[in-house]
Structures are given as C-alpha cells and as structure tokens.
Amino acid sequence: METPLLEMKNITKEFPGVKALDNVSFQVRAGEIHCLVGENGAGKSTLMKVLSGVYPYGDYSGEILLEGETQQYSQIRDSEKAGIAIIYQELALVPDMTVYENIFLGHEISSAAQVVDWNETVQRAGEMLQKVKLKLNPELKVKDLGVGQQQLVEIAKALSRDVKILILDEPTAALNEDDSANLLNLLRDLKEQGVTCILISHKLKEVIQIADTVTVLRDGKTICTLDARNGEVSEAVLIKHMVGREIDNIYPQRERTVSDEVVLEVRDWNAYDPNLGRSILKNVSINLKRGEIVGLAGLMGSGRTELALSIFGNPDGYHLNGELYLKGEQKNFKRPQDAIKAGMAYVTEDRKGDGLILIQDVKQNITLANLQEIANNGVVDENAEIKVANEYRESLNIKTPSVEQKVSNLSGGNQQKVCLGKWLFVKPDVLILDEPTRGIDVGAKFEIYTIMTRLVQQGMSIIMISSELPEILGMSDRVYIVSSGRISGELPIEEATQEKIMHMATN
C-alpha cells in the first residue's frame, strides 16, 4: 500500500475530567475527500485541533506523520507552513476589513522593507476568488457578505497559501441548500486540482454524496473507516456506527396537539432597521396556537431572525409598527426582559455570539435567564441552582463532566443543548427556536425533536425557524414562508412539500 499523505497514530488527548481522544488513529490518502463524522463531543474538532497545532506537540500523546515524516507542531503557524489549512467551526474573518485584506491577512504580500504591495494583493485576491468561483468585488467589507460568501472567502484565504490538506469543520452548518451545493462542488473541483480535503459534517446526506472515505468517531475512539466510493455507505450505516444503535425515523411520532386558542398573534407588523437604513419586515401577520409548532421557512437573510427579534423585545432597536398580541393581550415590549416576563423565550441562532456566556460554567448559563426562580431576596441559592442545572443536564443529555464545566469547553452540539436548557428553565408559553439543530448530531436531533413534542403536549407553543426543509416538514403543524421580509405563503403541513416551499421562498 502507498504511504498515506497523512497519518495520525494513537492520538490521545485529555482535558481535565474528559478523555476527548482515546488512542485515535486516522489516515488520509493524497487527493481524497475524507469525511469525519460522529456525535457531538465525539472528538472531531479536537482531533483536527491536534493536527493543526492548536494543541501543540506535548499536549497530546501519539504521532503525526505527513508524507511519512514525523511532525511536531508547537503552534498553528508550523502546521500552516507544512501545508495544513483549517477552517474552523466558527468563521475567523475580520468583519471590518475588506475581502482582499482578509485573504492575505497574516501573510501579506510585501516588499523587502515590509511595505504591503496593495495592487498585487488586490490582483492576487481576485485570482483566489476566481478559484473558489466567487464573483464579487474584493474591495467589499467582509461584514457585508452573506455567510455562504464568507465561507468561500475563508477557503480562498486557505488556498492563498500552499495547501496540501484543507480541513473544514462543519462548513455547511450555517449554509442554505444552494450555498452548500455550491461549496461541495467547489471541493470536488479542488480535489481535481490535487487538494486533499478533510470534512467534518453532521449532514450525512452530503457526506455520502461527496466522501471518498468516511471515518467514524465515537466517544473519542475510532470506530471504523469506510470506503465510500462504491456507494455501499448509507445514512443508516453511518448512524449506526455513530450512535451505536439504529434510529429508523428521526422525527418522533406526533399526535396533533393544536388547540383553537391563539397564544401569539402579530398583525401588520413592520420593522425598519436604522443601522441598515432600510425596511426589513413588511406587513407581516402570523399567529400561533396553543400546542402548535409553526415552522418559519425561508432563505438565509429573508428576515426570519429579525422577525423573531422584533417580537422578542426588540433588542436591536428597530423602528416597529403593528400590533402584537400575547394570550389575547396587546403587548408593547421595550426589551427582552419584558417579553420573557410575559412568557416568551428565544433560542438564538448564533449560540456563541449572543446565546451563551462562554467564560461561565454550565450551571450559570442554564439559570441566567431565570435567576429569580432560584433566589431568595436577591441571593442565589446555589444548591437549587446545581439541582436545576443537573436536571437539564440529564433531560437534555448534555455531555459534560460536571455542571461546573465552562461552556467554552463543551463541544458545539452540547453548547446548543445548554442554550436550549437555559430557555426551557424560563418555562415559557411561547418558545421561539432559531435553527435549533444547527451543528447537532442525529442522535441529539432526535432528542431535541422529542423534547419539542413533549413540550407542545404540555401546552407550550413553538415557532421553529429552520433552513432545513426536511426538519420543517417533519416537525411543523403549519408553515409560513418568509421571503424578503414578507410572508410569501402559508401552508398547512398536509399541503406542504419541499418544492412548494422553495418556490414561495424564492419569489
């Protein structure tokens, strides 16, 4: 057998209280697309961080061989020099810099005297953008690009160095279907050009489409490495290896629990964003009944998150106009605090940006939105807090050594569960979930769906914003389609199909 391009041998990496990687071995052949799958917390990101020098040599045990030679990186720069580029789960671009500045950030094209040659930079940036098939002006600021475009800029940035191995950690988690397909095509092209790719993803469909080889991790151990080229690998097979048991239907059986009582109603709702200087919601009217799950479908940037925020106390200071009724009473929330008190909760889309306090521990995050409940005269009862946190840890199956673990140390999916726990503890009547299963493994998805089912049975009402149509179709009782800040359609679940929704979403 030829020597593999990359070989990681017997890698073990421990954190206080957690063995994140336990004797993992991992081989990548030159020129292949190698997918890495596994449950939340299985150790995928950690393995890649070991490879890229985030955890330097000596922090782990085991051996890394690149083209047969032993590698010992003491920092990220070393692995970059060796030709390994990693694109992290969360994007690492500087929003206020231009595209071309970002692409060459850290290895600017400069003269001997360290003076940056901007003309050359812009020119080369243009070439890189062509390589990733992104047609845009490199002088734009990154913050003005969509997530899909930003993702491509990240790849252009990686390609601007000499890369042998490109690692992508859940690149499509935040992308819609078109952008995802686009990205996968790009990876295929890069493969033609000889770039080897390691891809981490929870979207098993795309894994099957694109992978040459799949490695499954579970609980920090390599379970198996499968050859995916001959089409023998199916979703069911992957799921079985990932979770160790079979899951046939990822959407739980639901009895319809919808009552006639309308709990939330928004009428002729308009919002203007003074920062963007334009109107973002136009004449939106929606309602939600007790015990109902309403899906909000639409493309990225269609205004679904803005709608949720504007209802939930309007923290971004949009100029609003229209009527909002909660349980029959007209409301005018000044801030999220008011909305929470009135019985609403909003699980944000961006858990790191505005969902969690990463430097605090699991229990502090879970109780944050409802500290009153566990406090007497303003003094927090620590015993009660620990009890509550442990309850949610169990019911949501949050993988953590203890509730005193810092949230930044949890894996992406488990962070999402902490977010969910925090809002369930508020015990709301109306729960808004914004992309609730983004970055979450199949097993945990099933758990979250089961929890949603249980909640509506108990009389809660849920608005679920999701860009994944199967999820919308699998869980909703009714679907609104949002397009450019308007409601472009409403479908009862019996009539909803992917085609109809996509059609309405793009109009």
Binding site: P315, R335, P336, G353, L358, V380, N383, S402
Partner: protein, 394 residues
C-alpha cells in the same frame, strides 16, 4: 496520585490566583530584608493598611466597572473634589459629621450616574465620558479650594476615620501593650473562615464536584489561618485595627457577597462575559451600567472622605492619579481587560501590592522617579503573567 504531583497539579490550575499572593509575599519579604525589618514592624504594617484604604475602596468599584468592559477615569478627582466638599461642609457650613458623610456619599453616587448616562444611552465610550469627568472634577476641585487653598479640618470625629483605631477592652491586667479586641476579632475571623471553607467543601463533595485533595485543602486552610493570625498579631502589637481597615473590610464583605451570591452580581458578570447574550437573557444592560457607575461614584466619595480625613485637610491636588492606582490594582488583582472576569478580593490584594511597593520604596529612600518605573514594571509583569497563564489553561 502522589502528594507532590497533587501539589503541582493544583498549583498549575490555580497559578493565576496563587501567583498574586506569592507576589505579595515576595515583595513584603524583600522589603523586610532591605529595610532591616522596619517594613514589617507593627507600626509600618498598620500604616500600610491605612494608606491602602482609599485606593482599595476605589479598586473594589473599579473591578466591577472593568468587569462590564468599561473604565472610569474621573474617580480620582471626583474623590478629591468630594473630599474638599466634605471639608467645606464641616468647616464653613458647620454641618455635623453624621450629615456630611451620607450627603457626600449620595453626591458621589449621583456623579457616577451622570457619567453613566452618556455611556448607557448614547453609547459613548466610557473612556471619553469619564475623561470629560476627569477634567470637570479637576476644575471643580480647584474652584472650591481657590479662595482658601488647603482647608484644615479640625473635626475629631471625622479625622478618626482615617487616623483612629477601634477601642479596646478596659485594662484587664494581662497581655500588656497588646490590643485585645483586635486579637479576639482575629480569632473569630479564623474560626469563621475555617468553618465556611469546610462547609463549602462538603457541599461540593455532595455534588461530586472537583475539590482540592484533602492534604492540600488542609495546607491551604492552615496557611490562610496563620496569615490572618499573623496580621492580627502584628496589628494588635500597635494600636489594633484602624477604622479605615474596618471600613475597607465592610466594603469588601458587602461587594464580595453581592458579586458572588446575588442575582445582581450574576447579572454584572454575565454582561461582562457577553453583553448581547445578557440582554437577550432578560438583563437590563443599561440599568446595570447605572448601577455599576453609581456604585463607583459612591466609592469615590468614600475614598475622598478617607483621604481627607487621613490628611486632616483638603488640598488642591487631592485625588491626583488615584484612578490609575485603582486601575492598576484591579489588573494586578486579576481582573481581565476582556471583561467578565475578576474578583473584588483580588483587587484588594492588588491594591496592597501596589501600596507595599510605594511604602517599601519610601522607607528605603528610593527616589520617586525610580519608584514610578518599578511600579510600572510590576504592573506590566502582572498583566503579562495574567494573560499567559490564562491562555495556557484554555
């Protein structure tokens, strides 16, 4: 695991926190040596604590300001100005002490709220808003002292705040020359400390949380108990505990309790950790900015009172550079510039470190120019140590 490995592990995990105490200890040891013991005699330690008082209360307030990712530069001259107001109220308006002190504290709180307004509502950086305050209060201080120059305060009760000591039991005929109430309080403090530590350890164990290994826990307890005992003994050997120390301890106790046990404190740290997430979690961020700056203003007033009382007079330059000493104390004490991290107890130690340097170098007769350089170097070293140990533990 063996004992040595345990010690190593615990030290590594808590290097940041222990480092501060070790630094304080080393600095004190060096000065004890270079001043032939003068530095650690009862009289000087007592003096050191009293000097630290007016910076310590500022450092406590500053901790919270930095935790919510802001800064307040106006506090030095605000303290100076309000100290002068207190002097004027006592001397010229002839108001009694028990009226003057609450009045000045309220004025301080109002001043803090005024700084908070542009920060909370207009999103003006607190650096700029409080820089304006710095200029204004400096001007105000010059203005109120313009006619009189230094104002001498003859009020004995007021001056006791900065110079007096708590009373002692009547002479019982034993332990002559030792302040017995101070000793008693020290013993109570040790007992209280040991019990509360044992309690909290038990509680943690009941929840299966990580606790220190038993041997190390005992060592830590013994060490701190001896430390408290030693300080008490040293203070008791002079005049006992001063009113300044009592005031600082009360302030620290209150702030420590609020920040670690109360909803209010949780909200403050949540804002520091992630303001957007805090707002979305139903915390009124604007209101908290008012609370934190208001408390800062009130503590500035307290600092002004302590300082004026200590000097027994209000001067035209009172408060100069207090703000920077307080900020330095907070950083040395482990407050993170990124927000969301820092303890008020740490900042007190930080204040003590900075004041020990001044005091010790004064005793050694080191020139003021060198003193600044040394203090600057210690600040830089502390922050570098902080950042590197923090990153490593990640």
């Amino acid at each position: 695991m063996s004992f040595v490995q345990n010690v190593q592990k615990v030290l590594k995990q808590n290097i940041r926190e222990y480092g501060m105490y070790i630094a304080l200890f080393v600095i004190m040891a060096i000065f004890a040596f270079t001043t032939n013991g003068v530095f650690i005699n009862s009289r000087n330690i007592s003096n050191l604590f009293n000097q630290t008082g007016y910076i310590a209360v500022l450092a406590v307030g500053m901790t919270l300001v930095i935790v919510i990712r802001h800064i307040d530069l106006s506090i030095g001259f605000l303290a100076g100005f309000l100290g002068a107001v207190a002097a004027i109220a006592l001397v010229f308006w002839k108001l009694p002490v028990w009226v003057v002190i609450p009045m000045v504290l309220v004025m301080g709180a109002i001043a803090g709220l005024i700084t908070a307004f542009p920060v909370a509502h207009l999103k003006i950086p607190s650096f700029v808003a409080s820089l304006a305050g710095w200029l204004i209060y400096r001007g105000a201080l010059l203005l109120v002292t313009a006619g009189t120059g230094t104002i001498i305060v003859p009020d004995a009760a007021f001056n006791a705040i900065g110079n007096g000591y708590i009373p002692d039991f009547p002479d019982l005929g034993f332990l002559p020359g030792i302040h017995k109430l101070t000793l008693l309080l020290g013993v109570i403090a040790v007992v209280f400390f040991v019990f509360s530590e044992i309690n909290s350890r038990k509680k943690k164990q009941a929840y299966n949380f990580e606790v220190l290994p038993l041997e190390i826990f005992i060592i830590k307890l013994t060490f701190i108990a001896i430390l408290i005992g030693l300080i008490t003994w040293v203070l008791a050997g002079y005049n006992g505990i001063s009113w300044t120390v009592v005031i600082v301890l009360v302030v620290v106790a209150i702030y420590h309790f609020v920040t670690t046990q109360m909803v209010l404190g949780r909200h403050i740290y949540a804002i520091g950790g992630n303001p957007e997430a805090a707002e979305l979690s139903g915390i009124n961020v604007k209101k908290m900015i008012y609370v934190v700056f208001g408390s800062m203003g009130m503590l500035s007033a307290l600092s002004g009172i302590l300082f004026t009382s200590r000097l027994q007079s209000a001067t035209t330059t009172a408060g100069t550079l207090f703000e920077l000493d307080a900020i330095a104390a907070a950083y040395v004490g482990g407050v993170s510039a990124a927000g969301g991290v820092g303890k008020v107890t740490g900042s007190i130690i930080g204040a003590l470190v900075m004041m020990s340097l001044t005091n010790g170098m004064n005793l050694m007769g080191i020139d003021i120019s060198l003193q600044y350089i040394v203090r600057g170097a210690v600040l830089a070293a502390a922050v570098i140590f902080d950042v590197t140990t923090r990153n490593r533990s990640k």
